[in-house]
Symmetry: C2
Subunit: 220 residues, 2 copies
């Protein structure tokens, strides 16, 4: 008897990955031991290694799967849409919705980006770059069509990602507004800021830096 879509094996792997992601999200990758995962999954230490080859591969499986899905969903969502602004709104909405719905995995993706090394790092990073470029190009398109001036495209792109990816540090679904409202807020702040050449010139006074001298944490 062969299963249709998902074998027993894959189902259990998914369960292991989901449980691990939750612990990684809570304690961090490096301070999570395989023994922690063993305890949470009620599997033996050695038994876990039937599902992944090493702790780092486990991290890779989580990150890779997560990135693949969010990118795929994103591309599918904006396919066919013409207006680049509309596209961007969909991208932000997708990203935030995905983030909130899969907070553990996304936190592992954001926070443990440098906990993975070697070829695994390369593979995840190339997917990341692909996703970032998609957004950057979208912003470029918008900038051209709306004649946005004086904003560095790289700064703008990472400012947007900063806004979106930072939420794992503060967003609490029980306390804060739902995702739709969150997406509306962030989209509006970013987009109207990115487009908005409208900051009153009066507020632009003091163009030079106000800092007398470079400040350093430690004396000398």
């Amino acid at each position: 008897m062969s299963n249709d879509s998902q074998s027993k094996h894959d189902q259990k792997l998914v369960h292991v990955l989901k449980t691990s992601a939750a612990i990684f999200a809570e304690k961090g990758y490096h301070s999570t031991s395989i023994r922690d995962i063993s305890r949470a999954t009620k599997m033996s230490l050695a038994g876990l290694y039937y599902y992944f080859a090493s702790k780092e591969e486990l991290l890779f499986l989580i990150q890779d799967h997560c990135f693949s899905t969010v990118t795929m969903d994103c591309k599918r969502l904006i396919a066919g849409v013409e207006d680049p602004i509309q596209k961007l709104k969909l991208v932000v909405e997708n990203h935030l919705n995905y983030f909130v719905k899969n907070m553990n995995e996304m936190k592992v993706l954001s926070h443990e980006a440098n906990s993975i090394t070697g070829d695994w790092f390369k593979k995840v990073n190339s997917k990341k770059r692909q996703y970032v470029d998609l957004v950057k190009n979208l912003l470029g398109e918008i900038a051209r069509s709306q004649e946005v001036k004086g904003i560095d495209l790289r700064v703008a792109t990472f400012s947007l990602f900063g806004m979106m990816n930072w939420i794992y540090n503060w967003y609490d679904p029980r306390k804060d507004a739902d995702v739709t409202e969150l997406a509306r807020n962030i989209t509006r702040i970013f987009l109207s800021g990115f487009l908005g050449s409208v900051l009153p010139e009066a507020a632009e006074t003091g163009r030079e830096s106000h800092l007398e001298r470079p400040v350093s944490v430690w004396p000398q």
Copy 2:
């Protein structure tokens, strides 16, 4: 013979803290061993413990010092300034300048916020809350005076911090514009987005969510 401002002991402590911050920033707190720090400072393993009581206290010393300085500089900078918008600009400028000038320490502050526990965590966290509230209140002041509507203050505050704190993930002083330009970009994007009620209503179409169903990373 007593030293005036900084004793020999404090100077060496500062050196240890700065070196440790650099390694923590590069490898992460949990995968940095005291032996790594021993190697980098050319001090013996046991010798280091003359300057701090435990690895976690070392992390605390870095974070606490960093937070104290940035908050103090910030308050000093905006003291006497009336216009809340002008104040905010100074806060952003100070934060980013500090971040870039002390990238290692600030990365440790941002990225290892949950690597510290117990009373140390409480102490650092209360300083953090103080700083965040300062910015939040400033935004509230601006919102009232400029009649900003429809933006959640909490979302706005953390969006700003997201933009600013995310830079350790991408900012490269050799590649990107200098801090003044960076601050100008980020201030403009955020402030004109926060104030800007000016997003054309045409672009506000599609108020309902475009996502057909909640998406989850893992099937089921």
